[in-house]
């Protein structure tokens, strides 16, 4: 499954009030679909998507928090699986885009790429559930059930790059991006309408 195809499927299931925390190429490809005010793009240090998401999930229990993590990123912060599981945020969905490489850093392979099993690790740490999809049709069919279940959930997406979007690092680290998110988060608007396509 191509990453851009997977993101297009996810886009259709994201609500206006949802917070999306994304990192690296998944973030840039997500922004290419049209930036949302509640896209949390300034994660700063590699590996911390899940813990940014945890902070948001606990501080904003009325919203769904959707994390788009990378395989290399999550390997850098594997202990966060236990931290998230211990905190038990019901509004936390942890998507991991697995392509087996550090894509934006020269496409070097991640260690043990053929063996690493994030769904198994998440379940072993105490996530409420875990899924794996490697086909866009199966993702489309299975996503509603995954999003209807109570978190924390891990959903691994086996992807290949697909169309690669420009990497606008200046924007994701900008004060403007953080200000935009803060303003949207505190606007008081919490609706369940899906995002426009």
């Amino acid at each position: 499954m191509r990453r851009d195809e997977a993101l297009a499927v996810l886009r259709r299931s994201i609500r206006r009030a949802d917070i999306v925390v994304a990192v690296y190429q998944a973030l840039f490809d997500w922004l290419a679909l049209g930036p949302r005010d509640l896209d949390y793009v300034s994660t700063g240090a590699m590996g911390q998507a899940s813990t940014h998401g945890l902070g948001l999930a606990l501080a904003c229990p009325e919203r769904r928090v959707i994390v788009f993590d990378g395989d290399g990123s999550l390997l850098m912060n594997l202990g966060s699986l236990a931290t998230v599981a211990d905190a038990r945020p019901a509004n936390f969905w942890h998507f991991v885009f697995f392509n087996g490489t550090y894509e934006v850093n020269g496409a070097h392979p991640i260690p043990a790429a053929r063996h690493v099993d994030f769904p198994a690790m998440a379940l072993a740490c105490g996530y409420r559930g875990a899924f794996q999809f490697d086909d866009v049709d199966r993702l489309e069919a299975g996503l509603p059930a995954a999003l209807a279940a109570s978190g924390p959930l891990l959903i691994e997406l086996r992807v290949e790059p697909g169309k690669v979007s420009p990497r606008d690092y200046e924007y994701i680290h900008s004060a403007e991006a953080r200000s935009r998110f803060r303003k949207a988060l505190n606007s008081g608007v919490v609706t369940d309408r899906p995002s426009p396509r």
Binding site: G44, H52, N77, S80, T83, R178, L185
Partner: protein
């Protein structure tokens, strides 16, 4: 340089945290603060303790919470602070976010200031904070405790990080 040790109670620190409207404490256990502070926080109904796997996790947790004004601190030992400097640099300093870190100084002698400690790991903490341009406060005596609330308020009002160094092991009430 010598200092006159006069330990303070963990309950006084917790009172300061509550006065500063801290709702979450993200912590890795530290022997300096374990009995007098961390265990009491674990049993306190007004503060939620998040048991994190690594100190660096606490920085993004506090950062993310700050976006809607939810106040939190990271509680750790100076070894954890040293391990988390990149997250502090990227998220707290570069992004100018109100990350408050409370740090127990494991190995510091009771009767001297950190920069004069016989422990290298303690002695370098303040120089490292200065090099990173990180504002900090040192709590050595009970009279210093009121600084905690003021500095947390300052950090959140100005959206800036602050490190609170605990020079003594907090005592049980």
């Amino acid at each position: 340089m010598k200092t006159t040790a006069k330990n303070y109670a963990g309950s006084a620190i917790i009172a300061q945290l509550k006065a500063a409207e801290i709702k979450f404490v993200a912590a890795v256990p530290d022997i300096v603060t374990s009995d007098g502070l961390l265990w009491p926080i674990a049993g306190d109904p007004d503060i939620r303790l998040l048991r994190i796997s690594r100190e660096a996790e606490g920085i993004p947790i506090c950062a993310a919470m700050s976006y809607n004004g939810t106040r939190a601190i990271v509680l750790m030992q100076q070894t954890g602070l040293m391990d988390t400097l990149n997250e502090v640099r990227a998220i707290a300093i570069d992004y100018r976010l109100p990350i408050v870190m409370m740090v127990g100084l494991q190995g510091k002698e009771d009767d001297c200031l950190p920069e004069f400690s016989g422990s290298y790991g303690v002695r370098v903490v303040i120089p490292v904070l200065c090099a990173m341009e990180l504002p900090f406060s040192l709590i050595e005596h009970a009279e210093h405790i009121s600084v905690i609330r003021r500095q947390i308020d300052w950090g959140y009002r100005r959206s800036r990080p602050h490190v609170i160094l605990l020079g003594q092991s907090p005592e049980l009430p």
